[in-house]
Assembly symmetry: C2
Homo-oligomer: 336 residues x 2
């Protein structure tokens, strides 16, 4: 009873008394079949519950209608939204999505990309890839089409579009706001060491301080895991060693939440003593007390747009590569 066999083209062909090719044409709505035989075949296919095997089809056509999505961590709301946006769009276009978490780990990221390669995906969306430029290029060349999110190649690659948040400008906006409200000892809790976004924001942070003739001290910058706990630990440490800190710009909202927690524990009131700004504008940002001032980007849009870029390129590989840049918007709330 558990021995259910799938119906195949051969089965349908036999039942409809035509060749397998006619069935194939009918199923794929290819020309060269009379409307009446097509209708008859589709009816029979329906009756026996026939569905083409994507595996067999993939082997024959070298296209699998699958797309790989690599994110550092789906349980980060920002990437969860990207995943949702991507899956929505992929589903609509008839693609299935492989989800992979790099877990901020080079080796796992690499192994995961190998796995996607073996699955012969039609394209990949790589978010905040941590691989070295060389390794990344190697992998990119293995995929028919790629969209890079928050990562640059510094060189146009024929099969690769990019979507980048303008982190530098975002950081500038955030730090300038902190300066405008009178803060001067402004720290940057920078997230993971090897993050491209983190590095870009560092540049924006530095340039904003420089413009306002504020001398940034090395002790103001501290790296941490891109999580609430990471932010909390980093802030606790920071507030202890550099008690004069009066403003903190954070790698993302998750770390900012940890920073708020740390401020509470250290008895610093926000924003009067220490102003805090996050990044991403995850839902939590507007629900927490104090409501978090942050840089907004629209991750659902990014995911969905990434898919449409990818699908376009899959169907038309010669399109000129796009480099989309998304401007973050500073959302003023209570924390700064």
């Amino acid at each position: 009873m558990n021995a259910k066999k799938r119906a195949t083209v051969a089965d349908v062909a036999r039942l409809a008394d035509v060749s397998m090719m006619t069935v194939s044409r009918a199923i794929n709505h290819s020309p060269g079949v009379s409307e009446e035989t097509r209708a008859r075949i589709l009816k029979i296919a329906e009756e026996v519950g026939y569905r083409p095997s994507q595996i067999a089809r993939g082997l024959a056509t070298r296209r699998t209608t699958t797309i790989g999505l690599l994110v550092p961590d789906v349980s980060n709301p920002f990437f969860a939204q990207i995943a949702r946006g991507a899956e929505d769009a992929a589903f609509e276009q008839g693609y299935s999505l492989f989800l992979i978490n790099s877990a901020e780990d080079h080796r796992r990221e690499q192994a995961a990309l190998d796995a996607l390669w073996q699955q012969e995906i039609d394209g990949a969306i790589l978010c905040s890839a941590r691989l070295s430029l060389d390794a990344l290029r190697t992998y990119i060349n293995r995929f028919p089409a790629v969209v890079l999110v928050n990562r640059d190649l510094y060189l146009q690659v024929s099969n690769t579009d990019t979507i980048n948040v303008d982190d530098r400008q975002g950081a500038r906006l955030a730090v300038e706001h902190l300066l405008e409200i009178g803060k001067r000892k402004i720290a940057y809790i920078a997230g993971p060491e090897n993050s491209v976004s983190s590095e870009r924001r560092l540049q924006g942070y530095r340039s904003a301080l420089q413009m306002h003739k504020v001398l940034a001290e090395p002790g103001w910058i501290s790296h941490c895991a891109p999580t609430t706990d990471g932010g909390r630990a980093a802030a606790l440490d920071l507030l202890q060693h550099v008690p004069a800190i009066d403003g903190i710009f954070c790698f993302n909202d998750l770390t900012a939440l940890g920073v708020l927690q740390a401020c509470r524990e250290a008895g610093r009131s926000v924003p009067s003593q220490v102003a805090v700004i996050g990044a991403d504008d995850i839902q939590m940002a507007s629900l927490i007390t104090p409501r978090l001032t942050t840089l907004r980007t629209d991750p659902h849009w990014i995911g969905s747009r990434a898919i449409s870029l990818l699908v376009q390129r899959i169907h038309e590989p010669t399109l000129t590569p796009q480099a989309l840049v998304v401007q973050p918007e500073l959302i003023l709330r209570e924390s700064a």
Copy 2:
């Protein structure tokens, strides 16, 4: 330059001057190859960067090393954690994960399951499936192995394990706590109409009230989308039409956050005027003010356990079906 062809067994076989079968055996660490030829073959395979095509392998073996994960919405932190747990475990076991969002929509859920079927997945994890029992059974029979999360079949199916949160007991705990702290007009904001979890919690809610001789009025129960906005709207409505409400048990933490928002807007203090309890214990629950009292379950564990059940069954289909039940724990914080 973009015409990179994958190396195949045939390529490796030619270079190693052996047959394709020997290569296959070497790659798969199957017996029947001398250690020295195996080493030679693996070395050559490494050099030419050979990776077996899962597509071709899938066609030959009828196993794809892929697993489908269906969730209502990955951007819900509870399911994001399940996804993370599942992907972690799947990766470790050498499986790739298809992610699908049902978006609370029957038709999309069905279409998505069809897609997974066409991809010939080795197994599926179905979370909070909304399909009718009949439809669900049909789909389950198409997959080699299934794990159902938060859904019952009321009948043991040979290829299906289940993991269920004891929602009834959870609701009882929550409502009893509300009664203990003196609340009497206790509402249930119940989430989606057709949710199995919602229905089970309703039973627990009713039984707790009954035990304490409290007569639940129909107006105390209200359905809504399982989101913050849904919870907010439902609570606003509830507080207006039944102003006497002094306790609210919520479908999940997201709706509870909305309820807290509504209380603020309606000028009701929490918990003194209205006590609020959520469910899931997402991270936000402990970060919001007031910190949310909620029912904790461990979604990462659920996802990871689901994979291990599935993989076991894939390798050993005759194992007797498991029905895991997870007891939620009431976490007392500030909101109730």
